[in-house]
């Protein structure tokens, strides 16, 4: 437990009569990819939102980097080093691909209230932003409007923005969604190398990717974690088979 970067205990959120997350206890350790899987509507995205601070939990504690972050808003949590990607790409459509990443760099630099220096000539923003675009293979799209790139490229841009934040933990909500087999394979390879930079809480439906990447897997069903364990443990778990993997295995 001591090497947990992020830990949740008893985290709960109710929408009306629906328990979207139900006493969730979970941790993310240094250097690991922790996959969070579960059927549609299980509450995975809700849990990501609670961790990111976009939804206030009804109950429970979230610790990040040894600090209780319950009282911090989403902006503060991001600035502490929690970077998330969205299940449905959430970008600045009218900005260029490069500007999307520069905005994240601007936030990291801590200097947003600068009124006179033109941003596009600012090498301290442009260079590191370009570097992240190169990492995800989007450098040749840098000057295109984010609205005009393909769906798969928008997924890559989501990643580049998260990388640009130089976070201490990644919260990735279905990064492979709609990427196609080719793109998924490439992203799987990329994420594999990323765990050394910061641990990843990975929500993903693509089971090939999950089994290839995860150090541990937690299974969420109706807001409850029904099992946490290694890939082999989860594959052999009868409850999990029945509740989730059954249809595929």
């Amino acid at each position: 437990m001591s090497d947990a970067i992020l830990s949740l205990s008893d985290v709960t959120k109710q929408f009306g009569s629906l328990l979207a997350s139900d006493s969730v206890t979970l941790d993310l350790r240094a250097g690991e990819i922790h996959a969070l899987i579960g059927p549609n509507g299980a509450g995975k995205s809700t849990l990501i939102k609670q961790i990111a601070g976009e939804i206030k939990s009804d109950r429970g504690d979230i610790h990040f980097n040894g600090q209780n972050i319950n009282a911090l808003d989403a902006v503060a949590r991001s600035r502490m080093g929690l970077a998330r990607t969205f299940q449905v790409s959430s970008l600045m459509p009218e900005f260029s691909v490069l500007q999307n990443v520069m905005l994240a760099r601007q936030s990291v630099s801590g200097k947003v209230f600068r009124f006179f220096k033109p941003v596009l000539g600012d090498k301290s923003l442009v260079d590191p932003a370009m570097a992240q675009l190169e990492r995800v293979g989007l450098a040749d799209r840098a000057q295109m409007r984010a609205a005009d790139i393909s769906h798969g490229e928008r997924r890559q841009l989501e990643m580049a923005v998260a990388l640009a934040l130089e976070p201490k933990a990644f919260l990735l909500d279905e990064p492979m969604a709609g990427m196609g087999p080719e793109g998924s394979k490439r992203l799987t390879g990329f994420l594999d190398g990323l765990r050394g930079q910061a641990p990843i809480l990975l929500v993903e439906h693509d089971m090939d990717a999950v089994f290839a990447l995860a150090d541990r897997i937690s299974v969420l069903v109706y807001g409850r974690i029904i099992a946490t364990g290694t890939v082999d443990e989860i594959r052999g778990n009868d409850d999990v088979k029945r509740a989730y993997l059954g249809e595929e295995a």
């Binding site: 990111a52 902006v75 969205f86 959430s90 900005f95 520069m102 947003v112 009124f115």
Partner: protein
């Protein structure tokens, strides 16, 4: 390509603004110079609003408050100076002034403070609520001005002699026009620099996707509040000039009609386009001048035009002429 075309359109607008009054001077048509001055001042008010409306996506329906505050700064300070009545005597003496520079500083400071308060409250809302609450605040100030007899109440306040500026005879129409045109140019350059800065990027980001802003760790509220204050200051400066143009200030400058007019300049000319407010104000004044004299309902075609712009040409006049932008 489109960049070049927009540059061309902008240049034509700028040249027209400067040459029309010069030709009018040659033809001894001071009224035309006054119209051009009005265009420059309205454009400047629009440049202020465009910062929040165009770049920040915040539909403020209360910018007449700042336009009027600027106007009353000019009117009140001048009336005290011209009547030799100090504004207050204790605990220390504050006197009026007929110096535009002092008036402008007062207009900037007061409008900034008022915008800070209004913005801090209104920017917690969005959409229709934001429109209505900015309107409500402006109306509060409007009614306050009406019911404050010390400065003319409903009748307004006359400025017997146009306020002064060092080295310029402000009573000379072309000189006063030049002063207003320079102020407009400064406001536009300032605004152009601002939107290209880090702050400008954040402001335009907050317009497009607040969720994404939050996720990268930038709070949209603070960005918007600073933009709202700067925007109010520019519009207030225009208001001070407008009071001096008319040598008169009244609650009309604070009314919701005025808020609407400033909004029309921006929307007609091109929301989020640097020269949009100038194009819009020019078109508005030209229509008013050409049609207003012969037809009581001249605002009807204006309304239709506005509707067409909103429905079919979101880039306004500048957008139609210069084409869509690649990215911001």
């Amino acid at each position: 390509m489109t960049m070049n075309r927009e540059f061309l359109i902008n240049s034509i607008l700028a040249i027209a603004l400067i040459t029309v009054p010069l030709i009018a001077l040659g033809m001894d048509e001071p009224f035309i110079i006054t119209l051009a001055t009005k265009v420059a001042i309205f454009a400047m008010a629009g440049v202020g609003l465009n910062l929040v409306l165009g770049y920040g996506g915040l539909v403020s329906f209360g910018h007449a408050a700042f336009f009027g505050i600027g106007g009353y700064a000019a009117g009140i300070l001048a009336s005290h100076a011209l009547n030799y009545e100090p504004i207050m005597e204790s605990p220390f003496l504050i006197e009026g002034t007929t110096q535009m520079i002092v008036i402008w500083i007062v207009a900037l400071v007061v409008s900034a403070l008022v915008a800070l308060v209004i913005g801090a409250i209104t920017l917690r809302t969005s959409g229709v609520y934001f429109i209505m609450i900015t309107l409500a605040f402006a109306q509060m100030i409007y009614y306050f001005a009406i019911s404050w007899p010390a400065y003319g109440g409903e009748d307004g306040l006359s400025i017997y002699v146009r306020n002064g500026f060092p080295g310029i005879n402000t009573l000379d129409p072309i000189s006063f026009f030049a002063l207003c045109a320079v102020m407009l140019a400064i406001a536009m350059v300032f605004s152009a620099v601002l939107i290209r800065s880090r702050f400008g990027l954040a402001l335009q980001g907050a317009r497009q996707n607040a969720q994404r802003m939050t996720a990268v760790g930038i709070a949209p509220f603070r960005i918007r509040l600073v933009a709202f204050v700067i925007s109010a200051m520019i519009t207030a400066l225009a208001g001070a000039l407008y009071a001096d143009l008319n040598r008169f200030v009244s609650p009309t400058m604070l009314s919701w009609h005025m808020s609407g007019e400033i909004m029309v300049f921006v929307i007609l000319g091109g929301v989020g386009r640097l020269f949009g407010p100038l194009a819009g104000a020019a078109l508005y004044i030209i229509l008013e001048h050409l049609l207003g004299g012969v037809w009581e309902f001249w605002q009807l075609p204006l309304g239709v035009l506005l509707l067409l712009v909103v429905l079919f040409a979101r880039g306004g006049l500048v957008g139609v002429l210069a084409g869509e932008r690649k990215h911001v």
